[in-house]
Amino acid sequence: MPMTMSEKLLARAAGLPQVRAGEIVTARVDCAMMDDILGPRVMDEAFRAYGGQVLCPERCVVICDHYAPPANIDQANIVAFTRRWAEENGVTQFYESQGPCHQLLAEEGFSLPGTVQVGTDSHTCTAGAFGCFGTGVGSTEMTGVVLTGELWLRVPETVRVIWNGKLSRGVMAKDLILHTIGRLGHAGATYQTLEFTGEAIRELSMEQRMCISNMAVEAGAKAGLIAPDEKTFAYLADHGCRREYEPVYSDPDASFAGNVTFDASSLTPQVAAPHEVDNVFPVKDLLGTRMDQAYLGSCTGGRLSDLEAAAEVLRGRKVAKGVRLYVSPASQRIYRQAAQMGLLGALAEAGAVILAPTCGACVGTHSGILADGERCVSASNRNFRGRMGSKAAFVYLASPATVAASAAAGELRDPREFL
């Protein structure tokens, strides 16, 4: 019987020749990621009560990113606890202040085609860009995974999101996913896998594909898959991945729950206005909205190609008076590359402040949180009330190019005017 990529991934993890959407399976987890905010410090009590033994430390990764580098003593203590927990429990794959977890998982070769990854963070679906079944779980769930190496999963139906044509200049993957979420709605893909396909997706770099899979959860999806190809394999090889993997693909005659089709060539820059991610408009509808801050960073919009797009817009220009532009590269590796390529210099020259690679501003824990009444245009993934700081602040989600253009203008602007 033909299967979707999603079904094949879970069939393999369950050790079954065949699974169908709707079935509940017990899946072996290839990678279990715990972060500092909802990982060990929340899990520890139950973990100890139920034996306190990590079954497969080599399949676990612990990452301090939400509170690292810490802004206060409480955060510092949480990071210290997390670091100690990893050490005491034999989890040697530990990272601190190296950048948001999902980018690290990709760079370090943990997001592999054909595998299952779970993390205590809802954006674990980022791994879907590699044809990896990545999904977010709660802390009790993760405790079970750490103790047993597996978890139960309902095999989701798959909706194919087909993007035909090519993106035009100044339009990015972020615009594509915002438009998709605007169409599907924030619960439009609940329980489902989204499989992104079509010419526009194939044309995108791995970095830009990660931006798309990252936001699948903003439509309620369990996973946001993209079929692995030469770009996927090259990315892994370029990042020194030596682990073995075996990709799987949807059969042409697999049963899909639906198809949603879009035309990339007519897509224009998009923005998600406060306070829901599906509150999406073309940028042209909200031109001139005044901004106090512009944020370029996170597991959604702080990658090398994002910094490049922003630098292209800002070269020879200055950040508008009264606006703060914060740049947090998505990893320490990207930070170094961007520095070597002169991108950080160009951004700083334009007036940007370069920050550590961290989740800080995106999740409102440190490094650029918003005051009452402030507006921020951000390359990150959520604009819920209170997300980036004050409950009385307003977050507009947009592409890195739109963030840069808006920083230069002091108001929401279409980046294509600047190219």
């Binding site: 509940i24 909802l38 929340v42 139950a46 009560a49 139920y50 205590t120 963070d121 809802s122 977010g136 779980v137 709660g138 802390s139 009790t140 769930e141 405790t143 079970g144 103790l147 047993t148 139960w152 924030h186 619960a187 609940t190 329980y191 309620g220 369990k222 819920f384 209170g386």
Partner: protein, 160 residues
């Protein structure tokens, strides 16, 4: 877990997110305090009016947003017997099962009235509205999920 539960329905609308069920500002407090503020974002009197064995009955996309477990935990600590909704946000749904709080997906949940007395058969997936006499059928939870809930949650079921 007794297969048949009887209690009163407390009804809610669509898109009730985790911040409304369990406001973030109480997350650092004790479990009892968190439970005392359950559903505060939509019904400040909920924790006072709910009785052990009652049901939360909601519309679409119940529990959207954060993966925090304090949301289902607060309902469980209020001794809510089960949560019934037209459909749930995914992580909330799993968190309920993993902490041993029964959940039922009932496409007709919107037709259950506030204060109706319900008889719920989790094994069969049947809700009998004793107030109106109507009968709603839902997909029963698969046996392995029922086993997790009956054990009191994921970790208890793993211990067994």
């Amino acid at each position: 877990m007794a297969d048949t539960l009887i209690g009163i329905a407390h009804t809610f609308g669509d898109n009730i997110n985790t911040d409304l069920i369990s406001p973030a500002c109480y997350m650092e407090r004790s479990r009892q305090e968190i439970a005392a503020h359950a559903m505060e974002g939509v019904d400040p009197d909920f924790a006072k009016s709910v009785r052990p064995g009652d049901f939360v009955v909601a519309g679409k996309n119940f529990g959207s947003g954060s993966s925090r477990e304090t949301a289902p935990r607060a309902l469980k600590d209020c001794r809510v017997a089960a949560v019934i909704a037209q459909f749930f946000a995914r992580i909330f749904y799993r968190n309920c099962i993993n902490i041993g709080l029964p959940v039922l997906i009932c496409p007709e949940a919107g037709e259950i009235g506030e204060g109706d007395r319900l008889e719920v058969d989790l094994g069969e997936g049947v809700i009998l509205d004793l107030t109106t006499g109507r009968r709603f059928s839902c997909d029963p939870l698969p046996p392995n999920i029922q086993k997790i809930i009956a054990s009191g949650g994921l970790l208890e079921s793993l211990r067994r």
